[in-house]
């Protein structure tokens, strides 16, 4: 029921959004460019200051630029420091169950403690 295939209803929604966005854009251009006196003579007096026609796009672009730096900074802040216990283990590994070892069966998946991993990697096999 949730396929992304094109349906007639979706085509209608898409066309309505297309017309709506074109209407919004033409309205924005009219508000930004047509002088206030002409708008007043038409009777349209209660529109926002034209200052915002320039300010809002600038705010948006600066926010996008800051967003890049902010995301980078948030990532760096949430990285665990080198002396944190989270680089070694976490709550799930502490509470895991130990299944009994069965002959000729694939061993159960578990989190191997770091001491064991180190011994396997770095100490030569005797």
């Amino acid at each position: 029921e949730n396929s992304p295939a094109p349906l007639p209803e979706r085509a209608i929604y898409g066309f309505a959004l297309f017309l709506g966005s074109w209407f919004g854009f033409i309205l924005y251009l009219i508000w930004a460019y047509i002088p206030e006196t002409w708008l007043f003579s038409l009777g349209l007096t209660y529109w926002p200051q034209k200052y915002w026609a320039v300010a809002l796009p600038v705010y948006l672009l600066v926010a996008v630029g800051i967003g890049y730096i902010l995301l980078f900074g948030i990532n760096m802040m949430s990285t665990a420091p080198l002396n944190s216990i989270h680089t070694i283990t976490d709550n799930f590994a502490k509470k895991q169950q130990q299944k009994k070892f069965q002959e000729e069966a694939i061993p159960a998946l578990r989190d191997i403690p770091i001491s064991e991993v180190n011994r396997m990697f770095f100490l030569p096999e005797k």
């Binding site: 080198l82 070694i88 770091i114």
Partner: protein
């Protein structure tokens, strides 16, 4: 007996590892970084003084020059005393504990001792550090209530950051001593 081998740090700087065996259960491993180079010192000093001279030429205020001299002197003293670590050493005594010493360029030494009862293991861990993944040696401390749990991680060789080949040497030396405590008679 002492031996010294050359390695590289994580950023490519040459470092030297010195291993000394004092007795069957006591080993000292020291990692020494490069000394403060004269060319980097003169480059930094000239940059600060040129900038100060440029400011003086613009503002005609001679305090800028004396301020620059002060800043250079005090900055150099602070750097040598608090930042530049010349040698980091690890002294492992089998039945007693592990002592970690950092020697600064000004001669200051800062020491930490961890007794053997608290040490669970010495392992090589990998973690993300400043857009890189590095290997670093760390001491795992035991939890007093639950001997199987790790309560704290103490990273070692933080300023010289040796690469994996040097860390494997240090790891093998430490493990030889730590294994002796399993075969030795247990004491409460």
């Amino acid at each position: 007996m002492a031996e010294e081998r050359r390695f590289r740090s994580a950023s490519g700087v040459p470092i030297a590892l010195r291993r000394r065996q004092h007795s069957a259960s006591c080993r000292e491993l020291a990692v020494r970084g490069p000394r403060l180079q004269l060319r980097s010192l003169s480059a930094a000093t000239s940059a600060v003084w040129l900038a100060a001279y440029g400011l003086f030429a613009v503002s005609e205020n001679s305090m800028v020059l004396s301020a620059a001299i002060f800043i250079t002197l005090i900055g150099l003293i602070i750097y040598l005393h608090f930042v530049k670590i010349d040698q980091e050493s690890l002294l492992v005594i089998g039945s007693l504990g592990i002592q970690v010493t950092s020697s600064y360029a000004s001669g200051k030494e800062s020491t930490t001792f961890i007794e053997m009862g608290q040490v669970k293991d010495v392992v090589i861990n990998e973690a993300i550090h400043m857009q890189k993944v590095i290997y670093y040696l760390c001491i795992l401390l035991r939890d007093p209530e639950d001997p199987q749990r790790v309560s704290e991680v103490v990273p070692l060789f933080q300023s010289s950051k040796p690469r994996l080949d040097c860390l494997i040497e240090v790891y093998k030396s430490c493990q030889e001593i730590l294994e002796q405590r399993k075969t030795a008679p247990q004491s409460s």
